[in-house]
Each structure stands twice: as structure tokens, then as C-alpha cells.
Subunit: 415 residues, 2 copies
């Protein structure tokens, strides 16, 4: 384990535990007592600075290994996770009339999503703790990223999915050689079975929120954004929100850098949900505790009726002086086409929600035209071609006749 | 245009032309007279060396801009193409009992395939030559990569597809905002209509083989492999072969480096086709000119009955002292699961053909156990989830019952 980690702090009762004293959540607060990893910033600050970072050859997330809950024994065996491009927008910032827009494309990760950053930590922690098998219950990006990292590093993976899981998503898991248990029941029954099996077999548990270490992997996206912008991050950073772990990770990354004196201010975080599943938006707006909602959004990666990390997520919004916003599925599909057409980036719906949120936030004057913005593209659109079809019109069907084609194109005036 | 380019040489009649004197193929040899770009290696050799490369910050394919047929005006606006990871195998080399195995994962390119390297050159050449629209006829990776690069750089794209093109592949094009013309006819009619339309409207032509510059983009995969291996490339480099442009590009990259004195020997190239569509294997084996064959392979990206670049492809095999081999579709699917299960990499069928080829070449003792090998993973498996399903068994369906699960897992002895 990283020697600069000093302990784990319960986000609910604020009790501090020694590393290894607890494995998942706070023993007092149970599942609600999600733990936060504490670092010895004072010692790190003495050398973790720009000149130090400039000496590093590693361009992956592991360049920040001194801020991660791992030792470095197996890093060289991992896939190339992180180090994803931060694009300065070529066209969208003109269209939206804002000063500057960056897009952090985490869809270029090995399994196609930001979740690779968390799963990388999961498999490395599993090895450090002597496990041979990792497990989670999910059909989405968490599962496929875990299956990929486990395959690469030589661990077994058991993935629990509800029977209704689409075959397309299953195929990625099966190709990575995961043991996939399709549960003849709903998502709750699936989750429950996975929990019992993980306890019974003693597998490493990658079910997100209760694992204090996964957020630390996710935070590397913020560390990269800051470093790619020479430690002058944009006024706003926008990310879509499901169970709240990703936005918590983004906050934690900027928080680390502020403690280390590398940035002067944490960017305002805009969290975006679909209005078909917006429990955190409601909790933010009402300033009350979270109430479960139904899951009615096509953006499956953020369609989480009972987010498991509301405390960290809302803390991130509040302490960055940010905002939560919801957008319709229609606007999410529209954002997918805008991102593709104007920047050449193919986003899955949950990822495109961030752009839809930006557009709404500009309309509502939450984000001003003279502010700079970074959008995090959390997942590759190739993961979900069906919704890409929904977002676009079918192509023009024509006979193989040049004259007809010329007539058509000239009529449209679009040569 | 790059000032170190000295001309274009016909691969058939060997006539040399000045740059700008010809646009596509050799005027004498017509479509068969594919041109090769010539460089002033003597001048380049004076400074294009390891210390020079070490000074470069750019990790994308454009770090090699002095070996590319472009000027550098618009490079900063491009997506992050190339700079893909070269993985040292964790497990497969043990399984295959070879000394060393590397996997160059070009599936991590922005649109998910190696073709991004060629399309990047296409859009930059289009801009330099004053075009506003680029065009090609394809349903595959060439089309989606062209649509993506055109969107990013602000060019229009017209993509011609046969009516039978699967909607999944179309969705990627439509998301990138391409004008997609679905032709009510077969592939030949589609290609013919695109040719007439390109001529009529004066669009930039990205139909691969006849464009002398696209191979130059593709060669950057070889430049990267060599640099990532500190200019000691492996004994063999393996890549699947469709119309022959990619393997020609791989050869050209190593050729450049040999001329510059950066490597001492060009690796042996192993070209792999499906036995359902193997015209280049037949031409190689018989040492006769190419005969068209039917297209009966599920590896759609290499299912090309009439390869348009046979001369360059067979030249690459011969002059690298390499070999051509074919594998069954069944072995391709098996290779997909091996790559996923043992290295955590999801390949599309055409990409996995390279691994299937390696396995067969070891069996046939073409590749020896004491030799080192690099496989090029040309495309992301997410492009083709349907074949991933074909390659794998459906998951185990279970009731949400822990005891039943325990019984099952203990019976399998696979915890």
C-alpha cells in the first residue's frame, strides 16, 4: 500500500480508521458510512510538484501512483488506462457562444469508459489483499471494465447480471472470459445474490460505493485534466451522475491538487442527470435527503434510482460551489449528434448528458458566456449503437443513378 | 506539403513524377499504377534520429510529421490519433510458447481502428488541396474514421454504402454527421456511383488504394512499434490483410526507418487472410498474379475479393522475407476469445485474424518458438458485437439462490 496514505475517514460520522482496520464501509454507519482515503499532503507537498511530474515517463493514470491506494508491483502489467486526450473544442464553443470548451475523452480507455480507472484500482487492491477472484453486479461499464482488467492481470471475475441484460453488453463480458451469472430475477435480486456469493467465497468486492478505493481511481481523470491545462483548470467541469462515485472522484482529484498547492481553486462541478431518473437533482434542489425514484432513462449508465454515494456526490457539488441539473432523454440524444457532428466524438448517452447539461446551464445562465468549461466524455458511443440509431435519421436510399444524385444534392444546396 | 518529399513513383512502371504533377494513380498504368511517396532520406538522416525524437512532446502519429505528406498547419485541431499502446503480452506468449509477444492495440484510436491514421492524412490533404468535402465508398472502418476526422476538422463528408450495410455500422457514420448515401444496388454499383459523384462534384477521394498518401498515414503504426521497442523491433510483425494497403503501410514505416539508419533490419511481415476470402494468399502461394475470389468471411474488414493494392502488399511480404497465411473463420472467433480472456483486449474479427495467423504459423513452424512477435490489433471489438456473441457461449442462467450457485461453482471447481 502507498505509504503516504494515513487512514480512512467515514463521510457520515467522521470517525477516522487506520488502513487495514476496516475493509469497506464504516462499522458504525454501515452501508451509509462510505469511507474517504486520507493522504499525508504535508509530506507529499515537499516534492509532488510540476518539476516532479515533468520527470515522469508514464502517461497513464499510474503517473499519479503516489496519490493512489496501491503499491506499484503490478503497474507494468496493466492495460493503458487514463492518459486520455483532452480536446480543445474546434466548433462547439462557437456554437454555444462560450469562451472555451474542452472535452476529456475517456471513451478512449481500453474497455471504452472512465470506469477502467476504478476497475484498475480494484484488481490491484485485490492482488495486494491476496484475492484470486474479483466480482461485481452490473451489466454496464463497471462490469466490462472489471472483466477486462481482471483478464489482463490474470484474476478470475464473476459478474452478476439480471436476466434482462442486453446480449450486446454481455458479449463484451464473455469475450473477456468473465464468469457471467445471469440471474432469473430483477436487479435487486441480482445484487443480493452477488453480495451473498462474495461473502461466501471471499471474493474481492467491486460493487462501487462501498469500496473506499474506487473513487481514488476515478479521481485521476481530474488530475489529468488539471495537468493537461497546466494546472489552470476551467471555471466549470461537467460530468453526468449515476450513483455519484464519478463526480465524487472528480472532486477528490481537484481537492488533492489544491491541498498540494498545485491549483488555487477547485472548479465548479456541474452534475447532470436525466429527468427520467434524477434523485440527486431532487435532493440538491430540495436540500433534503435522497428519495428513491424510478429508472426511466435511455442513458443506462446514469439510470440509478437509488444512488449509493449521495453524501460524497452532494458534498462535491456543494464544496465546489457547483450545481445539479437534469435534462430530457431527447436532449441527450441531440447532444450525441452535436458531439459527433461538430467534434468527431462518439459518446454514449450517459456521456452526452454532460453536453446536454452544459447547453441547459447556459440557457439558465448558471454558466456564463465568459466562462471556460470542461466536459467529461465518460463512455464510448460504440457501447450503445442502438441509441445512436435513435438519435439519427436513417440514410437516404437512392438508385445507383448519378443524375438523380446530382439533382438531390443540388436541391439540398449541400455539396 | 512536407519539403522532404521528393516525388511519387509508380509501383508498376517505376516512372517518377513530381508532387502535384499527378493526383492519384500513374497516368500510364491507370488504376494498377499505384504511386509510392519518395522522401529525401539523405537530408532527413542528418537529424531525424533518437535524440530528435526524444525532444518531441507530441505522442500522436503527428510526431512523425516530417515523414508524412502534409504540412503542419492543422495538426493541432486533429483528434488524438496514434500513440496507441504496445502491450507486452502477460499470458499469451506462455500459452503459445514463444519468446516474446507484443500487441499493438490500434483499437484505442478515436473511431476505434487503425484506419484513423489514413483518414487523418486524407482530411489534411483535402484541406491543403482546397477541398471542402471528402468522400469514400465503404461501410467499414475507413468510412467511420473518415466521417469522424471530417467532423472534427470541419469538412463535409459523403459516404456511399450498399443498401445491405448493417444499421449498427451506419449509426457511427450518422452520429458523425456524414451525408450517407445508401445505394439500392450491390457494392460494385455503390463504388461506381461514388466514383462518378466524386468526379462530378470534385470532392476529395479517400477510396484507399488509388490515393498514394493514405499508406503514409498507416505506416505510422510501424514507426510507433519500432520507437516503442527502442528501435529493436521483433523478428515478426503480424497484420491481417484486406485490400493490402495496411500491410503496405507497415512495410513502408519500417523501410523509412531502415533508410534513416534507425533500425538495422525490416521485421518479417506475416499477412493473414480468412480462408473464406484469400486472394492474396493464393497469389503469394502460386507466385502468380491476383485472381478475384468470393467474399465468404465474417471478418468483414478483410473480406475483399478484389484487393486494390496487391502489388504493394506482395512487395511488402517478399522484401521483408515474410509470409502469407490464411485461417478459418472458426479460428478467428477462437482468437477473439483468447485475446479477450488472456490479455483483456477486445478485437474485431479482422483484428483477431492476426492472432489466429500467429497460432497457425507456429504450428507450421514458419514462426519459431525462439522468435519475437508483434501482433497489430487493427480494430476494436465493440465495432462488431454480433460476432463477439458468435464467439462466446451464452451465460449461465440461475435462480437467485445462493445454495444453487455454491453447488454449481463447487462442482465446476472454479472459484
Amino acid at each position: 500500500m502507498n505509504p503516504y496514505i494515513t487512514g480512512l475517514k467515514c463521510t457520515k460520522c467522521h470517525q477516522i480508521y487506520k488502513i487495514n482496520e476496516v475493509k469497506t464501509t464504516c462499522p458504525h454507519c454501515q452501508d451509509e458510512g462510505i469511507l474517504d482515503v486520507l493522504y499525508d499532503y504535508k509530506t507529499l507537498k515537499e516534492f509532488f510538484n510540476k518539476p516532479y511530474l515533468d520527470t515522469l515517463q508514464d502517461k497513464t493514470m499510474f503517473r499519479y501512483k503516489l496519490l493512489l491506494p496501491i503499491d506499484d508491483t503490478h503497474i507494468s502489467e496493466m492495460l493503458s488506462i487514463g492518459g486520455t486526450p483532452l480536446y480543445s473544442s474546434n466548433h462547439l464553443h462557437h456554437l454555444l457562444k462560450i469562451k472555451q470548451l474542452y472535452i476529456k475523452d475517456d471513451g478512449q480507455n481500453p474497455s471504452g469508459s472512465l470506469k477502467d480507472r476504478a476497475s484498475a484500482i480494484a484488481v490491484l487492491r485485490a492482488i495486494e489483499e491476496g484475492h484470486h477472484t474479483v466480482s461485481c453486479s452490473s451489466t454496464g461499464n463497471a462490469a466490462s471494465s472489471l472483466a477486462a482488467q481482471a483478464a489482463r492481470i490474470g484474476l478470475k471475475s464473476y459478474i452478476f447480471v439480471p436476466k434482462r441484460a442486453p446480449v450486446g453488453k454481455l458479449s463484451q463480458l464473455l469475450i473477456y472470459g468473465a464468469h457471467v451469472i445471469s440471474v432469473d430475477g430483477d436487479y435487486n435480486e441480482t445484487y443480493h445474490l452477488s453480495k451473498l456469493a462474495i461473502e461466501h467465497f471471499g471474493w474481492y468486492n467491486r460493487n462501487a460505493a462501498i469500496n473506499p478505493y474506487l473513487v481514488e481511481g476515478k479521481k485521476t481523470v481530474a488530475l489529468e485534466i488539471a495537468e493537461q491545462l497546466h494546472f489552470n483548470p476551467t471555471d466549470w467541469v461537467i460530468v453526468s451522475v449515476g450513483d455519484g462515485c464519478t463526480i465524487a472522484g472528480v472532486y477528490k482529484g481537484f481537492y488533492d491538487l489544491k491541498q498540494l498547492g498545485l491549483i488555487s481553486k477547485i472548479p465548479k462541478l456541474l452534475g447532470v442527470q436525466s429527468d427520467g431518473c434524477n434523485p440527486l437533482v431532487k435532493a440538491f434542489e430540495s436540500n433534503q435527503s435522497l428519495k428513491p425514484v424510478e429508472e426511466n432513462s435511455l442513458a443506462d449508465s446514469i439510470s440509478v434510482g437509488v444512488p449509493r454515494n449521495p453524501i460524497k456526490a452532494l458534498y462535491a457539488i456543494k464544496h465546489s460551489e457547483g450545481f445539479m441539473i437534469d435534462v430530457s432523454d431527447e436532449k441527450i440524444l441531440e447532444a450525441m449528434t452535436l458531439m459527433g457532428k461538430h467534434e468527431g466524438i462518439f459518446s454514449e448517452p450517459a456521456a452526452a448528458a454532460a453536453l446536454a447539461g452544459l447547453i441547459k446551464a447556459i440557457d439558465l445562465k448558471i454558466i456564463k458566456h465568459d466562462q471556460s468549461v470542461t466536459i467529461i466524455n465518460t463512455g464510448n458511443g460504440l457501447k450503445d449503437p442502438k441509441n445512436a440509431q435513435l438519435a439519427t435519421k436513417p440514410p437516404l436510399l437512392m438508385k445507383p443513378d448519378l443524375n438523380e444524385l446530382i439533382k438531390h444534392i443540388e436541391q439540398k444546396g449541400d455539396q
